[in-house]
């Protein structure tokens, strides 16, 4: 069995959860004053997630640290804010990442293999001045790194042979962080709309207020209703101007542009008119397709444009600029650029 200290460090492990189960605490038990420390710490974990995006590790009192984790999960579930779910899972995963960086390779490997079934092998290879300590099967690598956007995480930029990707120690723990983030995300999304006993609910309400106060600074704003072409990312501008010029575009480019225009708030009729006027597409058919993408037909899913990396894969990314380096999605680019444009307009002195 895992030690209490180990469980406190990594409370998302299945063995840590078993340790908590063995204590057999009920919700009513937790509401007792003796457990105030646990509730304090749980509330602390959630508010650290809201305010800093990173939970600290208080290993002085292992039992409190361990017990506060399932309680914090419960708070998050009770809060029922999807955005906060993600932020909390990340905050806890970063906490684990920092602790893992102080562990031995053997400990890291053990967690990866036994807890997450990674196909991971220990190696020792010095290459380009970097010491590679692990070899991970590409399947597990992609499961975690495919969403990362720095060039060094692209498979094409890794050394892979026979299906295994070489990794340094910090790279391995970074990938484990991602795995842990998903594990924690899974722990909190299970039961929604939880109503807790009063002393606990009071804490949830307090956390809810903290979240509301900080919501706009951590979630970003909404898109304007009128479409500003000046705010388009270079790829969409290229696609849009290409369409106007009657250039032949591939399916992916047309889909990306259409879904982008819909999400940027352009009127469906306007988009239909645009396509029909510059190509000789059949109006009814074009309308059908656009309405499908807008979620007015078929599966009723409103499609968002593909992410930057998808656009790159399919050759739709053109002339990326400096803002492109900071975003992963054409809509994020648009959102930032629009705020920029508006900011400048507001700065202008009144006439």
């Amino acid at each position: 069995m895992i030690s209490e200290r180990e469980a406190a460090k990594y409370p998302f492990l299945s063995e840590a959860a078993r340790l908590v189960d063995m204590l057999d605490l009920t919700l009513d038990d937790l509401a007792e004053p003796v457990h105030a420390k646990v509730l304090d710490r749980a509330e602390g974990r959630v508010s650290e997630a809201i305010l800093k995006g990173k939970a600290s590790a208080n290993l002085g009192d292992s039992l409190t640290e361990l017990l506060s984790f399932p309680v914090a999960n419960m708070f998050i579930t009770a809060l029922g804010e999807r955005f906060l779910d993600r932020r909390y899972a990340l905050s806890e995963a970063v906490r684990a990442y920092e602790l893992l960086n102080d562990e031995s390779e053997a400990r890291v490997a053990k967690m990866a293999r036994t807890e997450f079934q990674w196909d991971l092998r220990l190696v020792r290879e010095l290459l380009d001045g970097r010491l590679y300590r692990f070899e991970l099967h590409f399947n597990d690598f992609l499961g975690n790194a495919a969403a990362f956007r720095e060039p060094k995480w692209k498979l094409v930029n890794r050394l892979m042979r026979d299906g295994y990707v070489l990794l340094t120690n910090p790279e391995t723990t970074r990938l484990l962080q991602e795995e842990i983030r998903r594990r924690i995300g899974g722990l909190i999304s299970k039961h929604r709309g939880l109503r807790l006993p009063e002393p606990l609910q009071a804490r949830v309400d307090r956390l809810g207020r903290t979240f509301e106060e900080n919501r706009s600074s951590i979630t970003g704003g909404d898109l304007p209703t009128d479409v500003l072409v000046e705010g388009f990312p270079p790829c969409m501008r290229y696609a849009f101007e290409g369409l106007m010029a009657g250039r032949r575009a591939g399916h992916m480019e047309r889909f990306a542009l259409t879904s982008f225009l819909i999400n940027a708030g352009m009127d469906i009729d306007e988009i239909v008119k645009l396509f029909v006027s510059v190509t000789d597409f059949d109006e009814q058919f074009t309308r059908y397709q656009i309405e499908h993408i807008a979620g007015l037909r078929g599966g009723r899913t409103r499609y968002t444009p593909p992410s930057c990396s998808t656009l790159r894969t399919h050759g739709v990314c053109h002339n990326p600029d400096s803002l492109c380096k900071r975003v992963k999605h054409p809509l994020s680019y648009y959102r930032i650029k629009i705020q920029d444009i508006r900011g400048k307009q507001e700065d202008k002195p009144a006439e």
Partner: protein
Amino acid sequence: MVEQDWGSVQFVAEQFRRYYALNVSSVEAPSEIRQREFGFLSFEDRGMFRHKGFDDAQHLRHYLVDYAPSHTYYSSAYYEAPEAAMEFKGWQGADLVFDIDADHFSIPCQEDHDRWRCRTCGEEGTGHPPESCPGCGKAAFIEENWLCPQCLEAAKYEAQKLLDILIQDFGFTPSRELTVNFSGNRGYHVHVRSASVKKLNQLARREIVDYIMGTGINAEFQGFNQGLRGGRYISLQEGWRGRSVRALYDFIADASPEVVEDLGLGKAAARKLLKNRETILGLLMERRPRNVVKYVDLKSIGMLMEVAVQEQAAAIDTVVTTDIHRLIRLPNTLHGKSGWLTQEVPIDDLADYDPLSSAVAFTGGTLNIHIKRAPEIFIAGETYGPFEDERTELPMAHAMFLLCRKAAKVAS
């Protein structure tokens, strides 16, 4: 029998029916057939008939004999309920599939046998259609695509590069996990069937696509970084680390000053590159890419590399591989646009494989046909054509190919 329609659909459908009646036993069930969705196109109408499922090879064969479809597909995906509507199918996983189609790359022979015509103004040209019509600026074209031994060789070459990457870098075992099919038309399909790929999501498949195509390759992570010293040498067989060095070597060795200038390198960088060409090639040959940065700046190396890796990368269809619900052709079934078979090729035999003799389904006898227009047709060692509005008697293989292409009709 005189038919008015180009392609003589009824005649071709009858030939397909006869083919399946005699040869259906060669059609095998794909692995886990009960979890696969099937789709068919028929000669009668234009929509795809999909969401079909079969319990075993026997049922599938009965269906092929009864309906003799013009095209036969099955899903790369595994479903709980393959016959249910898309949202209720219950996706369980999917094979990793790659599609290589000569139509997706530019090869000189296309200028000889492919044509396009603008739907709006009627302007015509050869090869791939332009981005927009030089006559009227619109972008809708009627395309006439043909194929020849060169196209098929080019496609095979890409398939071989793909297989090398899948075997050496990804560690897939040929035959057991990897199979190659001739598509029955212009290319090849490569299937990876293994537990390790089945559950890969679209994001992960996209990374694999980028890997195969060298998309997003960054010189700094391929060893072109002076700051990082120490450690062993890379072998040229070591994934993209080796491939990128080879690619750059080949490119720099062959590059003319004009080519280098066209890349958009700064004037100074281009001059330095050409002046130090021999030294740089020497460094690459010694596998010391780090020191190349002394002669050409990292940014310029990046631009060179982006172009150079194209030769080492395999040209796959990016959409097919990332689509986890894809329908793909079933081996040993007929392709309605060629009259040829989709056919599995043992990987060891790929180098010598010739689809134009092996995959031809209709042989024996001759047929009188009226040909609208067609370039030279080379099948099973015999060349006929080009044709322009003429009536002639051709071997069955050539005649069926032209009929399937809708470039001819059966003459009385």
